[in-house]
Symmetry: C2
Subunit: 218 residues, 2 copies
Amino acid sequence: MSTETTTKVAPRRARGEYAKTRARKMAILDAALEVFAESGYRSGSLKEVATRVGISEAGLLHHFPSKVHLLEAVLEHRDDLARERFELDGDDGAATLRALVDLATYNASVPGVVELYCVLSAEAIAPDHPAHDYFVTRYVDTREMIASAFRQLQDAGRLAPGADPHRAANATIALMDGLQLQWLLDRDVVDMARELSDFFASFVEGFRVAEPLDGITR
Amino acid sequence: MSTETTTKVAPRRARGEYAKTRARKMAILDAALEVFAESGYRSGSLKEVATRVGISEAGLLHHFPSKVHLLEAVLEHRDDLARERFELDGDDGAATLRALVDLATYNASVPGVVELYCVLSAEAIAPDHPAHDYFVTRYVDTREMIASAFRQLQDAGRLAPGADPHRAANATIALMDGLQLQWLLDRDVVDMARELSDFFASFVEGFRVAEPLDGITR
């Protein structure tokens, strides 16, 4: 009987601990996203992130052993938030493309995070970089997600003749990444969302971003 | 008379010194380009560069005070070589676009240099980075060079209706930069020259890269 009780209580405690650890990690990631968005990738300090969560820097390092580990987790967290906020993987290809344009608009409001992504993705080219595998996987997944949207549009007869969903996905990602770099170097020279939208319109029949009346503010 | 001789000799000596320094610097840049192309941006060492030129590391640091200074100079040197090798700023817009496609083909043969460019341009987003001003200026110049090519094509009636030379230049640069990043992460997933060529063909009437018979191997 007492054994049974222990058996029953233990998992409950473990779940409690797990939930607590998870909540703490999420709080750290939210704070880190804020700090890096405000101060940029290099200046944003672990100490500042820890302070906002109300823990010590050592406490933070218990969850994320180094700044690079935290940065990678922040980017994953950003991806999760983007998937919650924007309809990126539904079965309506045009909606996915519109969501990508909305994402570009949103990105323009968080330059620190975009810079973090831009620098870390370039540094992670090196196979021994701690975030290398994360970026390789991320590009494979993103490519497949966007190619799937183009395939849906192709099936609906809306893709220009000769356009290839897989290659169009590569070009879309390239354009988004490249526009970010130019925009970070000079905010006035390029409108990321507009360029992306026009690119889609150039080979997707009838593509247009939703009207403001649809309830989306941009 | 003797004063006159001195006056005549002194500048000749100065020119000799200048030419020697310049030759030494060029030799260092050629060696550095090789080393970074072979070993990549991080692993390529100043010591290895110095050894290839037959000087000491201290001797190298006399010409380039830090690795970042050398890296920036290597990129400028690469730009100079590209301008010599490819017809990037002539008055034939289509030839300029073809030269950009040729440049993308060439870049695929020097991944170490492309990686150097990719990482350094991202890190140089930070306004206090030693290569920041170089990249800002480089993007302004490159944008103007490509926009000029598109304006020539527009004047010749070859640009699709609604296409804007300045914005097309931004998109071209973004596509080139973004394709490089994807290609560096996975060489098999993308053909940089082909994607760029198809992009031009999508809004430049009659655009095609030169036939192999024209003497260009690709």
